[in-house]
């Protein structure tokens, strides 16, 4: 048998080795290019096609699929919080992305609903643009006027983020006329118009958001807001009784459990994630523990004094009854 010529074998091995070396080098070279791009780009948050009309034209009939792609992109853009924190403006392109999605496919109800929350939530959770959120919901209402949830969300943005309770009530009143709107909408509108920013109305709103949404991220957001309200009210209650304890015994209690022993409380509440609150006896202040799993959002308006006044009235009336 005739042996294969050695130059052929050498060539084959050389080619194989070259391929192997090239394959091994691809990753480091790509990483180096990425690093250089990262250094060079001051603000990498670029949306190359921000005009919905241009994207629609470029979609050449595949509008629906391109809308899906942009929607996934918007979710990633909003959801990657670590990446968002590195941007100069956290959610600069979010309004444009949502505008593109809803122009390409105007029937995606969840995009208006979730998008309005993404836009309206204050920084760092959202873009802090409640007016833009209302614009997005108005676009949705004009496309889907029979969708009462969009009316509810519009009133919600007015109520919670803009604290325009009258406007919120008016929007919900309008929602009552939409076929299929739930019976509680009228009560909600009446309460917003008569009692303004009553916290019980706000709690009801978040409950409706939590129960009415099909999206887990929106339910999660509502849960967090309800938990934050619970935290505030627990802390104010504990601080109120710490003050009462100090008034009776001349000093703040060393531990919160002493409030139970002194008969001020039946039990010491824990935060909604089940972690005990942190107590500073020297200042008489109660805080959310660092170990707490509650994602705390500060309320957009302060009703601490109103809450404490109501608590004082309740406390006085219960004392009178005991006497």
């Amino acid at each position: 048998m005739k042996p294969r010529s050695s130059p052929w074998i050498q060539g084959k091995w050389l080619l194989g080795a070259a391929c192997l070396v090239a394959a091994l080098l691809v990753k480091p070279v790509q990483d180096r290019i990425d690093a250089l791009l990262h250094q060079a780009s001051i603000d990498p948050d670029i949306l190359y096609f921000s005009s919905p009309a241009a994207v629609k034209a470029a979609a050449i009939g595949y509008d629906s699929l391109v809308a899906d792609v942009y929607w996934m992109r918007a979710i990633q853009y909003y959801g990657r919080r670590a990446e968002a924190a590195r941007r100069q403006v956290r959610y600069k392109n979010l309004p444009a992305l949502l505008d593109i999605v809803t122009t390409l496919d105007p029937k995606m109800v969840d995009v208006y609903r979730a998008g309005s929350i993404f836009l309206a939530e204050p920084d760092p959770v959202g873009a802090g643009q409640p007016i833009t959120a209302i614009g997005l919901l108005d676009k949705g209402i004009s496309q889907l006027p029979q969708e009462w949830r969009l009316w509810f969300d519009k009133g919600f943005v007015y109520f919670w983020y803009l604290q325009d309770f009258r406007k919120a009530g008016e929007v919900w009143l309008g929602a009552c006329r939409v076929e299929g709107s739930p019976p509680w909408m009228e009560a909600l509108a009446a309460r917003a118009l008569s009692q303004g920013g009553e916290i019980e109305t706000a709690k009801d709103l978040w409950r409706h958001q939590m129960e009415g949404s099909t999206r887990e991220d929106i339910r999660e957001n509502a849960r967090n807001h309800l938990a934050s309200i619970q935290v505030d009210e627990d802390i104010w209650t504990l601080e109120f009784f710490v003050e009462r304890y100090a008034a009776v015994y001349g000093a703040s209690p060393a531990r919160l459990e002493e409030l139970v022993r002194a008969g001020f409380l039946i039990y010491v509440p824990k935060d909604p994630s089940g972690v005990p609150y942190q107590y500073d006896p020297a200042a008489g202040a109660v805080h959310l523990s660092a170990e707490s799993k509650v994602r705390y959002f500060a309320l957009p308006y302060n009703y601490r004094e109103t809450f404490k006044e109501r608590l004082a009235r309740l406390y006085e009336s219960s004392r009178q009854q005991k006497k």
């Binding site: 009939g61 595949y62 629906s64 699929l65 899906d68 929607w71 996934m72 496919d105 887990e216």
Partner: protein, 263 residues
């Protein structure tokens, strides 16, 4: 009969050329999407599966229509098999019609198998009743009509040009076919009577593929993604347009081909 025999042979040839291998890619895409998209879209899984499925049927079909269509006549000329065929008592228009129908049959098999695949993925995903799935079928039919029109376009160029140029011309006309109505709107903006007249002529002359991708004033795939029904009248008018335009294109191809000198 002769037309059917040519169509059958063209279909067989397409099968031999492994054109239906694109179905494997389609199957992989659909299976992968059904697993992955649920994680990414949060709430629009069925919509995205339908969007992706119908868009794939349209894109794969268009690619086959263009790239196989442009070679339908050219390949026969290059291989000189056309001489043997035309030496028999076969009219040139029969040859063209047979070739066209052969490729349409390939596209039909492709579209049917992909639609069944889409149905299976939706069934696996769950939550889409049969009634809703059946509402996709008019959309699939309209996509098939757009493929028939694209094939006829490719065939025209295939009868007198090289494959590279034919592909380019067909692709350009396919793009223009999606923006034809915009051309008319643009001309009206100029307020020039001549521009409007020229635009109107072009509007009727050039293929309106958007007539087949839009029904009841909405995108066909978009409406299907929400399982909305399409009115029978819309489907009927679209069919009428496709039949008329394809007839003209096939007539044009047959005329060009008849005038070619094969000596």
């Amino acid at each position: 009969m002769k037309v059917l025999a040519i169509a059958r042979n063209t279909f067989r040839e397409n099968i031999r050329d492994k054109i239906l291998y694109n179905l494997i890619l389609f199957a992989l895409l659909m299976i992968l999407s059904s697993f992955v998209l649920g994680q990414l879209t949060l709430g629009y899984e069925a919509k995205v599966i339908v969007d992706l499925g119908l868009s794939c049927i349209s894109v794969f079909g268009t690619l086959i229509a263009i790239f196989v269509g442009i070679g339908l006549v050219y390949k026969e000329l290059e291989r000189r098999t056309v001489y043997a065929l035309l030496a028999k008592p076969v009219h040139r228009w029969e040859f063209i019609l047979g070739k066209y129908m052969g490729l349409l049959l390939t596209l039909l098999v492709n579209v049917v198998v992909m639609t069944i695949g889409l149905g299976l993925v939706l069934a696996y995903h769950g939550g889409v009743p049969l009634q809703s799935f059946l509402r996709l079928l008019p959309a699939v039919y309209l996509i098939f009509l757009s493929l028939a029109l694209t094939t006829a376009l490719a065939l025209v160029f295939s009868s007198f040009s090289t494959p590279a140029l034919s592909a380019l011309f067909t692709f350009f006309l396919w793009i223009i076919g999606h923006f034809n109505s915009e051309l008319l709107d643009f001309a009206r903006l100029t307020k020039s009577a001549v521009a409007v007249f020229v635009a109107q002529i072009l509007y009727y002359l050039l293929p309106n593929i958007s007539d087949l991708t839009t029904a009841d004033s909405r995108n066909v795939i978009q409406g299907a993604a929400y399982f909305e029904p399409i009115r029978a009248a819309a489907v009927g008018w679209a069919t009428g347009y496709a039949v008329l335009y394809c007839t003209i294109l096939l007539g044009l191809t047959a005329t060009i081909f008849s005038r070619r000198d094969f000596k």
